[in-house]
C-alpha cells in the first residue's frame, strides 16, 4: 500500500502573490519618488559689521545692478525699467537679454583671459548685483533669479561652444566643471543693510 511513504502536503503558495502585493502597496504609499530640484547659490561668508564697511572693491563698470521693487518692477542699471515679462514659448525675457548683453558685449564688462583646458579664453568679469525690497514677493524674486541664471547659462553655452564645440548642458562632468569654474555665476544678493543707504 502507499500508506507507508505518504508525502508531506505541499504548502499552498497561491497567497504568496497577495502577500507580495500587500507589501508592494505599503511601500508605494509610504515612499516618495520625487527628486528635489532647486536653484543653487553660494552665500558670501559672514563678516562682522565692523569689517563689513571695507568691501571688496569691484570695478563699477563690471557691476550690473538689478533692482526689484515692492510691486515687482524690475530696474536694470540705473534708470532702465524692463517689463516683467516671463519667458514663454522659448523666448528670452528682456531681463536675461540685458544681462547677457552685459556679459558678452566688449564695451559693457571687462574681459579677462582665463585658462580652460589648456587654452586661454576671454571671460567676462561681470557681476550682477541683485537687490530686492523686503516686501517683494518671493515668487517674483525667484523669477528674477531664474532669468539671471538663464543669462549666465546662455553665456556658458557660448563659451562651451567655443571650447568644446558643444553646449554646456551636453558636456561631460569634467568639462562642465571646467566651464563652471571659468564662468562662475556671479550673482550677488545684496545685504539687508545695503538697502537703508541710498
Amino acid at each position: 500500500m502507499a500508506r507507508g511513504k505518504k508525502k508531506a502536503g505541499e504548502i499552498n503558495s497561491s497567497s504568496m502573490a497577495d502577500i507580495a502585493f500587500l507589501l508592494l502597496i505599503f511601500f508605494l504609499v509610504t515612499t516618495t519618488m520625487d527628486v528635489d530640484t532647486g536653484m543653487k547659490r553660494t552665500l558670501p561668508k559672514w563678516v562682522d559689521t565692523t569689517e563689513q564697511q571695507n568691501d571688496v572693491d569691484v570695478n563699477e563698470r563690471n557691476v550690473l545692478k538689478v533692482n526689484v521693487s515692492k510691486s515687482g518692477m524690475i530696474m536694470v542699471g540705473t534708470d532702465e525699467y524692463v517689463p516683467n515679462d516671463l519667458r514663454r514659448n522659448g523666448r528670452h525675457s528682456r531681463l536675461s537679454q540685458e544681462v547677457y548683453n552685459f556679459l558678452t558685449l566688449p564695451d559693457r564688462s571687462a574681459k579677462k583671459a582665463t585658462e580652460i583646458d589648456g587654452m586661454n579664453y576671454d571671460i567676462s568679469e561681470g557681476l550682477v548685483s541683485l537687490k530686492a525690497d523686503d516686501e517683494t514677493k518671493y515668487k517674483i524674486y525667484l523669477q528674477v533669479q531664474d532669468e539671471l541664471t538663464h543669462a549666465f547659462n546662455l553665456y556658458r553655452d557660448d563659451i562651451s561652444l567655443k571650447v568644446y564645440g558643444k553646449k554646456y548642458g551636453e558636456l561631460e562632468d569634467i568639462q562642465a566643471n571646467n566651464i563652471r569654474k571659468a564662468v562662475p555665476m556671479r550673482i550677488s544678493e545684496a545685504e539687508p543693510n545695503d538697502q537703508t543707504k541710498k
Binding site: A20, F27, M33, D36, K40, W46, G90, T136, K137
Partner: protein, 153 residues
C-alpha cells in the same frame, strides 16, 4: 479505458500563476530601491514657486528648511509664515543650532551641506533674507532655492 476516454474532451491547461509572486517581488524590490522613506511630516504648506533653470539636488547632503503657512490642524492658523526645521516648527533664531545639529547627524562639515530653502511663493524677500543671514552666521553657505520645473514652457 480511462486513458482513451480523456482524449475526447481535451482541455486547455490552466494558466500557471506560480511565477506571479516572483513578478510582484521584483516590482517590490524596484520600489524599495528607487524610493526613500518620507522622513518628516509636513507642518507647513509650501506653494512651491516655478522656475526654468533648476538642477537636481543630491539628497545626501541636503538639509531642508521650510517656510510656509501653518497647517490648520497644527498650531495657530493664519497668514503668518512659519518655519519648519526637520519635524518641528522653529524660529529664525533656531536655524544656527539646527544646521549645526544636522551636520553632526549627517557626519559632515557644515560647509559641505546644502541647505534647501523650501519657501512659499507668497513669502517676502525680507523673511528670506533673515533666514539667509542666519545661515551665513552658521557658515552654511551652500544653499538652494527649491523650485519645481515650469510645466508649460
Amino acid at each position: 479505458m480511462a486513458v482513451m476516454a480523456k482524449k475526447g474532451k481535451k482541455e486547455v491547461p490552466a494558466l500557471s500563476t506560480s511565477s506571479l509572486p516572483d513578478i510582484i517581488f521584483m516590482l517590490l524590490f524596484f520600489f524599495m530601491a528607487a524610493t526613500t522613506m518620507r522622513e518628516t511630516d509636513p507642518l507647513v504648506t509650501v506653494a512651491m514657486p516655478e522656475a526654468h533653470e533648476i538642477t537636481e539636488l543630491d539628497k545626501k547632503n541636503l538639509v531642508n528648511v521650510w517656510m510656509g503657512k501653518p497647517l490648520s490642524a497644527k498650531g495657530q492658523e493664519g497668514d503668518a509664515l512659519m518655519i519648519q526645521l526637520n519635524d518641528q516648527t522653529g524660529d529664525v533664531a533656531d536655524i544656527q543650532n539646527f544646521v549645526a545639529a544636522s551636520a553632526v547627524t549627517k557626519k559632515m562639515d557644515v560647509q559641505s551641506l546644502t541647505v534647501n530653502l523650501r519657501v512659499d511663493e507668497g513669502a517676502t524677500v525680507g523673511k528670506l533674507t533673515a533666514v539667509k543671514q542666519e545661515l551665513r552666521k552658521a557658515d552654511a553657505l551652500s544653499i538652494s532655492y527649491a523650485a519645481r520645473a515650469v510645466e508649460n514652457n
